[in-house]
Symmetry: C2
Subunit: 115 residues, 2 copies
């Protein structure tokens, strides 16, 4: 755990969040600045800086992250209508938090390009 990491502190329970789902190695909570009607972040409980740091050793965690995302989509009634899953890496993407987080976005028709 990185004690200066906002999402590590949320995972540890030191900071509050609006929890939506969780599993052994992941936590899902609402984005505090929702960009769409549904906007949930799914994070690994272990500290991984961003998607460029994913390696073979993260395989099981990564699969679990997507299982939690699927659960979130079901709970939010997005399974039938669809949703978008986004990882941002680095400045051009606008990423500001140095702990891997998968954006689960939906609740309206989305445009293309994605940003």
């Amino acid at each position: 755990m990185a004690t200066d990491c906002l999402f590590c502190r949320i995972v540890a329970g030191d900071l509050p969040c609006s929890e939506v789902a969780s599993s052994e190695n992941t936590l899902a909570f609402r984005d505090i600045n929702p960009a769409m009607p549904t906007h949930v972040l799914v994070v690994p409980k272990v500290h991984v800086p961003d998607a460029s740091h994913l390696r073979a050793e993260h395989a099981e965690m990564l699969a679990e992250l997507f299982e939690t995302a699927r659960q979130v989509a079901g709970q939010e009634d997005l399974a039938d209508r669809g949703y978008r899953l986004v990882f941002n890496v680095g400045a051009d993407s606008g990423n500001t938090i140095g702990h891997l987080h998968l954006h689960v976005l939906g609740g309206r028709t989305m445009g293309w390009p994605p940003g």
Copy 2:
């Protein structure tokens, strides 16, 4: 392999693509309608319909998909400036191809929300 699947046919070599990278279980090629200066799709060679079908059994393939995405980002000079990784699921997201594909997008500053 689903013989009526466009991306299975690309993986099999039955249809051409502009290949960017590959690994044992993944293939990366340029989107034929690029939405940004860099727009590459990374697909598993095995047929998985979309991200809502990912399960624990796909863990290693999924990690490999992100390793290939990282390789693509390096080749496209996006590692330092950043990039966005997107999975679309269902109608609201605009998904039109029923074979899992990770969009690797970059080469300009991106806005938010992502579509």
